[in-house]
């Protein structure tokens, strides 16, 4: 049947499609991986090992700039007018979460690259191509007395980058699933979880020689705690929507029960991403066993869960607005 008034097509558009979901994941993973690298560097790093950094520090230093840069490229390509993106850098609106995010990223991204350059100083020195950059690295190194302070700044910026993506969504009053104060803390927590998983995965695959079993065990324990925190946060998100009533209640019920996105949530986010790591931790990795295969498997399921959580929130939020 034709509508008398024309087309409804423009109201069904997913305005923020998959590149945004992937960006939200990458930004969280980037922030999480550097938070973890810094924690390991500060608390777990054996000072007597003079030669080489812990694999977790190296993995974080590698993942953090890489993921955020790929994420930012995706963000720019998703703009309707990608070539005009520079306006984001020169025209600010300090009421907008996006502007605040741009500023944080503008500081965070170069700083994370500096961190990488310092961790991989030797690699840069020896590599034929990268050695061209060595003067820059040594110039940065001349400020090494400020290193610790800059690491604190980087840590703080990583917390902002990890949480702001949640605020970015929660500033939308039109979408009940996003318009929740739970989202920033949920995104930060799951970003840290992804950071742990990513660091362990990259560390075990590429930096075997500098693996420190103790710091891996420490991180696995930390991850278990973060996951135990994510479960009640997700519960709070939906309980909050449910008791808000009206459109939010409708939205919560639909998002948890209708179609493929409900499936993504229950199977992907809950079963694979949250329950299976807990099960692995309580069975295969019990008594702090160091079983490489299970640790790698654990990292993969955690990462899948975190990616699917972002996809679920982005898509189900826009589809199930509880309208009508």
């Amino acid at each position: 049947m034709n509508n008398v008034w024309g087309s409804m097509a423009q109201y069904d558009v997913i305005n923020w499609p998959w590149p945004i979901a992937v960006y939200l994941f990458l930004a969280g993973a980037s922030a999480g991986s550097i938070i973890i690298a810094l924690l390991v560097k500060w608390n777990r790093h054996d000072k007597e090992v003079a030669t080489i950094w812990d694999a977790m520090v190296k993995a974080g230093a590698l993942i953090s700039p890489l993921t955020i840069i790929i994420g930012l490229i995706l963000l720019i390509l998703d703009l309707g007018k990608p070539l005009s993106f520079y306006w984001l850098l020169i025209s600010y609106n300090f009421e907008s979460v996006m502007t605040l995010g741009v500023i944080a990223l503008f500081l965070y991204t170069p700083l994370s690259l500096v961190f990488t350059a310092l961790i991989f100083e030797d690699v840069i020195k020896k590599n034929a191509l990268l050695s061209m950059l060595y003067p820059v690295v040594s110039y940065i190194k001349s400020y090494s007395k400020y290193a610790k302070k800059i690491e604190y700044v980087l840590f703080f910026l990583a917390l902002i980058v990890g949480a702001y993506t949640g605020f970015l969504l929660s500033a939308n009053m039109s979408i009940p699933m996003w318009n929740s104060p739970i989202l920033p803390i949920l995104f930060l927590a799951s970003g840290i979880s992804a950071g742990i998983a990513g660091n362990i995965l990259v560390g075990m695959l590429f930096f075997k020689s500098s693996i420190n079993k103790e710091s891996i065990k420490y991180l696995l324990m930390l991850d278990l705690r973060v996951i135990m925190l994510e479960i009640p946060l997700l519960l709070l998100l939906f309980v909050g929507m449910f008791y808000a009533g009206g459109a939010a209640k409708v939205s919560a019920i639909q998002a948890l029960s209708v179609g493929n996105w409900a499936l993504v949530f229950w199977v992907g986010v809950i079963a694979v991403g949250l329950v299976s790591p807990v099960v692995i931790a309580l069975t295969a990795l019990k008594n702090h066993d160091y079983k490489v295969k299970f640790i790698l498997f654990n990292s993969v399921v955690v990462l899948i869960g975190v990616i699917l959580l972002r996809f679920y929130i982005v898509y189900a939020g826009q589809i199930f607005t509880g309208a009508l």
């Binding site: 087309s7 558009v13 923020w16 703009l79 005009s84 306006w87 609106n93 826009q318």
Partner: protein, 189 residues
């Protein structure tokens, strides 16, 4: 003096002819399949006890506009009269405003890739002392537009004699488009 613009859509007078929607397309060069405004018609009830509600669907020009708050570049802004407009030069089409708008009023122009919406025909008509295109063509005068602080204006008189409602008033966005709810047909209250 600062004007307090109001647009009133009287759903009792509206016949759903879509002349407003067509006038908007031709005045503002709106591409196919997207709309700055349309009147959506909803049939309610079970035959023969039916009623048809005609609801204007467009930007409502919020006083506290979420789209202006979220816009990262300031491309979404308000004129001194509080009308929400878009500066296409600053707009990068991040679609944050499209997502943030509780009235589903914004869309991306498929040709220019700019974000567009109803502007009250501000730059092309209202700033020149004319009425918006949709108001001028309405055959039943279901649409009334003007400065509500001017006691001689049509919109002031209309507001005096009718009980105005504001769409999604509970959100606290303070719209400048009001409606007079439909009383024709079967009542389900």
């Amino acid at each position: 003096m600062k004007k307090k613009f109001r647009m009133i859509h009287d759903e009792n007078l509206c016949i759903g002819c879509q002349a407003c929607s067509v006038a908007c397309r031709s005045e503002n060069d709106v591409p196919d399949n997207v709309f700055r405004m349309q009147v959506q018609i909803e049939t309610k009830g079970v035959f023969p006890d039916l009623k048809m509600d005609m609801q204007r669907h467009s930007c409502v020009m919020c006083e506290d506009a979420p789209c202006v708050t979220v816009c990262p570049t300031g491309a979404s802004f308000q004129t001194k009269d509080g009308l929400v407009q878009i500066d296409h030069r600053l707009c990068v089409s991040c679609k944050y405003c499209v997502v943030a708008c509780p009235y589903d009023a914004r869309f991306m122009n498929p040709i220019t890739k700019n974000i567009e919406k109803c502007t009250f025909c501000y730059s092309n008509r209202v700033s020149k002392g004319l009425e918006p295109a949709c108001v001028t063509v309405c055959p039943t005068d279901a649409l009334v537009f003007g400065d509500i602080s001017d006691m001689t204006s049509e919109v002031y008189k209309k507001a005096k004699e009718c009980n105005l409602l504001y769409p999604k008033a509970n959100l606290g966005t303070k719209p400048k488009v009001a409606f007079v709810p439909n009383k024709k047909g079967v009542s389900y209250e």
